[in-house]
């Protein structure tokens, strides 16, 4: 597709005589940053999977942050440093929830968990994770080995753009599943092309803002996204774990798990998996008791036909012909979307706010969800 191969915008910003020289000419910024980035070569090279990518050095002895892609599924991982040195590398830990991986340069004769003795330029990841996020309109530089233009000591490609938005990733539901549901940087440069994943998103002073992501399509707009996972990425998951109660019986218990880039880079360097990633299997979600109009079309709007007497919907005062338009601020485009939302994001006893179109106006209705009534015909399995 045309868009995927739009020419790289190399820094050539003010070709015309300008008012005054910028305090931080991009050339210096980019030259410094280039020394802290590597080209990664690994598995791939067939189908549409490329065997090249980019990585960000975050310690002087060679810890490299990159995207957790198929590229890393090899024992022959190789990185090229800015000066052309070719070195072997090894995966230390990956965090699928953030879609990042930490790899480390392997030096002959050294164990992977020893100091490698290298003295590389690096981005200070801990400073980066604590920096406040950039905002829409901030100028950015994207640096990556997009399309494998650079080899060995050739500098990476640089793109200039602005942050379009700092917002939730729109690919979390629907067409594709992307595990990370926190905020991302959307940028207006065409950064996310083959080989760019793992590249650096920098502010105009050259400070690390985020890691350029993969090639993904935005499910809200059906367009390819140009995004980076921010260094301050954080996401909170609700999960249930099974524990023994005092009688030794298995009971389910709710638990909140927070995954953050900060934890990942700190603990990652200590070679531990940062979090327990047991995800809750999806249940039915909370119960509302709305009977919808027949769901004929892919996008039949969520019109209420009736409510089950005594159900949460009945108690909340929903009426036939109401159109459920939003739940907790999320647009509900169809009955299908509503079902999916209930399943993924709600639990019994949770309070939700529905915005309902009744006639020509929108009404806010609060509802406390219930337990799904047992299905009559299927006998409950004996424990």
């Amino acid at each position: 597709m045309f868009t995927r191969y739009t020419l790289l915008t190399v820094v050539a910003l003010f070709g015309a005589p300008a008012l005054a020289p910028a305090a931080d000419p991009f050339a210096d910024t980019v030259e410094k940053a280039n020394k802290k980035l590597v080209k990664v070569f690994g598995a791939g090279g067939f189908a549409r999977l490329n065997n090249y990518g980019t990585g960000i050095i975050i310690s002087k002895d060679g810890h490299i942050l990159t995207v957790a892609s198929q590229l890393l599924d090899t024992s022959e991982l190789v990185v090229h440093l800015y000066d052309g040195q070719r070195m072997k590398a090894q995966v230390i830990v990956t965090e699928p929830l953030l879609d990042v991986a930490l790899i480390k340069i392997r030096v002959e004769g050294k164990k992977i968990d020893e100091d490698s003795g290298l003295d590389l330029d690096f981005f200070d990841a801990l400073t980066a994770v604590r920096r406040p996020p950039a905002a829409a309109g901030d100028w950015i530089l994207g640096m990556s080995n997009t399309f494998e233009i650079a080899l060995r000591d050739e500098p990476l490609s640089v793109q200039r753009g602005v942050i379009s938005a700092y917002t939730k990733m729109a690919g979390r539901r629907g067409i594709f599943e992307f595990p990370y549901t926190g905020d991302v940087y959307m940028v207006d440069a065409i950064t996310n092309n083959p080989g760019a994943a793992g590249g650096a998103l920098l502010d105009k002073k050259g400070e690390l803002l985020g890691i350029i992501g993969r090639e993904l399509k935005n499910s809200l707009t059906e367009t390819w996204m140009n995004y980076a996972i921010p260094m301050n990425a954080k996401m909170t998951l609700k999960t249930t774990i099974t524990v023994k109660d005092k009688d030794g019986k298995d009971v389910e218990q709710e638990k909140t798990v927070t995954v953050s880039m900060e934890e990942f880079v700190t603990k990652g360097a200590g070679y531990k998996t940062p979090v327990d990633k047991t995800l809750i299997p999806l249940g039915l979600g909370g119960y509302h008791g709305i009977i919808f109009v027949p769901n004929i079309l892919e996008r039949t709007p969520a019109y209420v036909e009736d409510v089950v007497p005594g159900s949460p919907a009945d108690k909340a005062g929903l009426r036939p012909d109401d159109l459920v338009s939003f739940i907790d601020g999320e647009p509900i485009i169809s009955i299908k979307a509503l079902d999916e939302y209930m399943r993924k994001f709600t639990r019994p006893n949770q309070k939700i706010v529905l915005e309902v179109r009744r006639g020509e106006s929108l009404q806010s209705i609060e509802m406390t969800l219930g337990q799904h009534p047992p299905k009559p015909k299927v006998p409950a399995p004996k424990p």
Partner: protein, 711 residues
């Protein structure tokens, strides 16, 4: 310090200078241009932000992909585009609740629309007031007051090179955050026939309906997808984020706002003329055809008039006419000067119409003999019950003169082409006088007839089309290979070549080294350069490029020999199928073949299945100087059909299987074409999904192809 400021940089330099001066001079020993520009951009965004609203929709259609059949070959690629489901953007244009947006955002006909205004917590129910069909804009009304209206950047001050920021509300759900931003410059003005400003800031569904904003926070225009090659609310979406984006000037939007507020859709103003040739850039603007009852017809313009001036502007070529007409609306008035012969004529206040009555080709009801050197036109076949039949014309008669009955004597008809040209100037209902030389005895008689519209019928069996006595090789040709109900595919070997062909015949593949393109041609073994041949251009299905050529050639083998057709098949450059922009190279290949062989230009057919059929429609409509027929199997129209034009007729043969999930859309495509009064043959094949023709439909198609030169 001496500063040189390039012209184009002036507008933003001024702002940056202001931004710089605002800071205390002493505290800023080293002014940073990047910082200042960035700050100015954010200020511009913040200034317009209150007028950039979020639009959410519910219900409506969702164009989905046609899933490939399990185990079978992959299905056609997406039929049209899949519409995203996220929020879109609108721009406040009047404080009392009017919002303008891109029609793209409502292309799926949502049942409910909601608008959220920055700084106001409530979502509001919105209603569509009207559409501007020329600029693909939609006006919404919400119940709100005291909205912030943005400042307008005057059109006359827009210069290439000025900063342009595109702002949208799709990405961030919170309207109190800054809108999403992309930065670029004004790339061109007066684009899309004078209707849009072009920018290299990214435009996509993320900001369609939002604003293109100057560095000082004024609005150039409303971001829309647009294309100079296609119309419709989704045209131009394919190049999203590609550095080619468009915005309709806000000044123009505000000028039409009173008309839109009345709730009437704005349509393009049509004059109702078509050019004589296809080269609109070089050819002089001579009127080649006039739509019946159009603005041009009402004003009294005539075919052959040369347009010299419109609204005081000289018109050196036809494209100038298009540029002037492009931005015009229905009911707008034109002042025209034309040359008729040597006489200059003036037409003041020609009122443009919103619709044109479709041109309907007139029909006499005969098939002519081809490759006939004698004067007049010999009748090959008379359609039963046609005007010709009613007037007593018989096969074998020779038509010598033909013309409107009003003339004292009908003018002579030199040959087939002259006959076709003569009837194209007439409308159904016209009374004509025809002088015929009878087959037996050569008696000359003059008969009268009344022309009718071209009917939707195909003769079941046709006599040969050349004067030579040729016996068909077989009485009942076996169903060819690619046709269903294939009888086992036992094609007989034909090794009894009687004469040696002079030109290379049979199946050939050709490559254009320079362009890296390839195509195949099948020339029947009995090819004779003295006999004119029809040409069927086959557009393969996605992924079949270069694979189905020999099979198609075999399919048409007997027909090609018996009815003198050459078959060719260009190859799409992508595995995923045809793209509209391949039209030009495909047409070049077709013209090469036309140049090498004796081709009857009245029987050049674009034929394709599924994605190939969509390409056949597209190529048919966009290379009308070449194609006279379009035949599709299981394909839908990608774009709304263009008008039927007298001097570039197009006939359609459309088919689909009753089990094809697309069948409704195929029928809809057929209806659209019939509304435009094109002659359309439609066949719904029983018990059929996405297969090629069945035997019956195939035979109908062959007869249709062989009767395209009917008069």
């Amino acid at each position: 310090m001496k500063i040189t400021i390039p012209n184009a940089a002036r507008p933003w330099v001024a702002v940056v200078a202001v931004a710089l001066l605002a800071a205390p001079v002493s505290a800023q020993p080293k002014p940073d241009l990047n910082d200042a520009t960035e700050k100015a951009m954010k200020a511009a965004s913040a200034k317009v932000a209150p007028a950039i609203v979020k639009i959410e929709t519910a219900g409506g259609a969702e164009t989905t992909l046609v899933a490939p059949k399990k185990g079978g070959p992959p299905g056609p690629p997406a039929a049209g585009i899949r519409k995203g489901v996220g929020p879109t953007t609108g721009l406040v244009v009047s404080a009392d609740g009017y919002i303008i947006s891109s029609a793209f955002n409502f292309s799926n006909k949502p049942t409910d629309i909601f608008v959220t205004i920055p700084g106001r917590p409530q979502r509001l129910v919105a209603k569509i007031v009207a559409n501007d069909q020329t600029r693909m804009l939609t006006l919404l009304k919400i119940d709100a007051k005291d909205l912030t209206v943005p400042d307008v950047f005057p059109k006359k001050d827009v210069e290439v090179g000025q900063w342009g920021l595109t702002l949208g509300r799709t990405l961030d759900n919170n309207v109190d955050h800054p809108p999403s931003m992309s930065v670029g410059i004004v790339s061109a003005t007066n684009r899309i026939w004078g209707k849009a400003i072009q920018t290299d800031a990214k435009t996509s569904p993320v900001n369609y309906g939002g604003a293109l904003v100057s560095i000082d926070g004024r609005v150039y225009g409303v971001v829309v997808p647009a294309s100079n090659r296609a119309e419709g609310e989704t045209a131009g979406v394919d190049v999203y984020d590609g550095g080619i984006g468009f915005a309709v000037p806000l000044e123009d939007v505000l000028a039409t706002l009173p008309r839109l507020k009345e709730g009437k859709d704005l349509r393009r103003g049509l004059l109702g003329v078509s050019p004589q040739g296809t080269d609109v850039y070089n050819a002089v603007p001579v009127i080649g055809a006039i739509q019946p009852d159009s603005a041009a017809a009402r004003a009294g313009l005539q075919v052959g008039d040369k347009i010299t001036e419109i609204n005081g502007k000289k018109v050196p070529n036809y494209s100038t006419l298009q540029h002037i007409m492009g931005p015009m609306y229905e009911s707008d008035e034109l002042a025209l000067k034309v040359l008729r012969g040597d006489k200059e004529m003036e037409f003041k206040s020609v009122k443009l119409l919103g619709t044109t009555t479709a041109y309907v080709a007139a029909y006499f009801g005969i098939l002519p003999m081809r490759d006939d050197a004698s004067p007049g036109v010999e009748v090959r076949f008379v359609y039963p019950k046609s005007p010709a039949d009613v007037a007593g014309i018989k096969a074998g008669d020779r038509i010598m003169k033909f013309g409107p009955a009003a003339l004292p004597a009908p003018p002579p008809v030199a040959n087939r082409a002259a006959f076709i040209a003569a009837i194209q100037r007439l409308a159904p209902g016209a009374e004509v006088k025809v002088e015929v030389k009878r087959k037996d005895g050569g008696k000359v008689e003059t008969v009268q007839a009344k022309l009718v519209p071209v009917p939707d019928e195909i003769p079941e069996k046709l006599p040969p089309a050349t004067g030579k006595k040729e016996e068909p090789k077989k009485e009942e040709p076996k169903p060819p290979l690619n046709v269903r109900a294939d009888l086992g595919g036992q094609e007989e070997k034909k090794d009894d070549k009687k004469e040696k062909p002079k030109l290379e015949t049979g199946y050939m593949t050709r490559t254009d080294e320079a362009l890296g393109r390839e195509y195949w041609v099948y020339v029947p073994d009995n090819y004779d350069p003295k006999v004119s041949h029809g040409l069927i251009v086959w557009f393969h299905q996605a992924g079949q490029g270069g694979k189905d050529g020999e099979r198609m050639a075999k399919t048409f083998e007997d027909f090609a020999a018996d009815n003198h057709f050459i078959i060719m098949g260009p190859k799409a450059s992508a595995e995923t199928g045809w793209k509209a922009n391949e039209t030009e190279v495909v047409v070049r290949d077709v013209k090469t073949v036309i140049g090498q062989y004796t081709i009857d230009r009245t029987r050049v057919i674009a034929h394709g299945q599924a994605n190939g059929g969509e390409m056949a429609f597209y190529v048919g409509f966009n290379a009308r100087d070449v194609f006279r027929g379009v035949c599709t199997v299981g394909a839908i129209l990608g774009n709304p059909p263009k008008d039927n034009i007298a001097n570039q007729p197009l006939a359609f043969f459309i088919s689909g299987g009753d089990k094809d999930p697309l069948i409704k859309d195929i029928v809809e495509s057929k209806n659209l074409l019939m509304e435009k009064r094109f002659p359309v043959i439609f066949r719904e094949m029983k018990e059929s999904g996405k297969e090629y023709f069945d035997v019956k439909t195939f035979n109908d198609f062959l007869n249709w192809a062989d009767s395209l030169d009917r008069i």
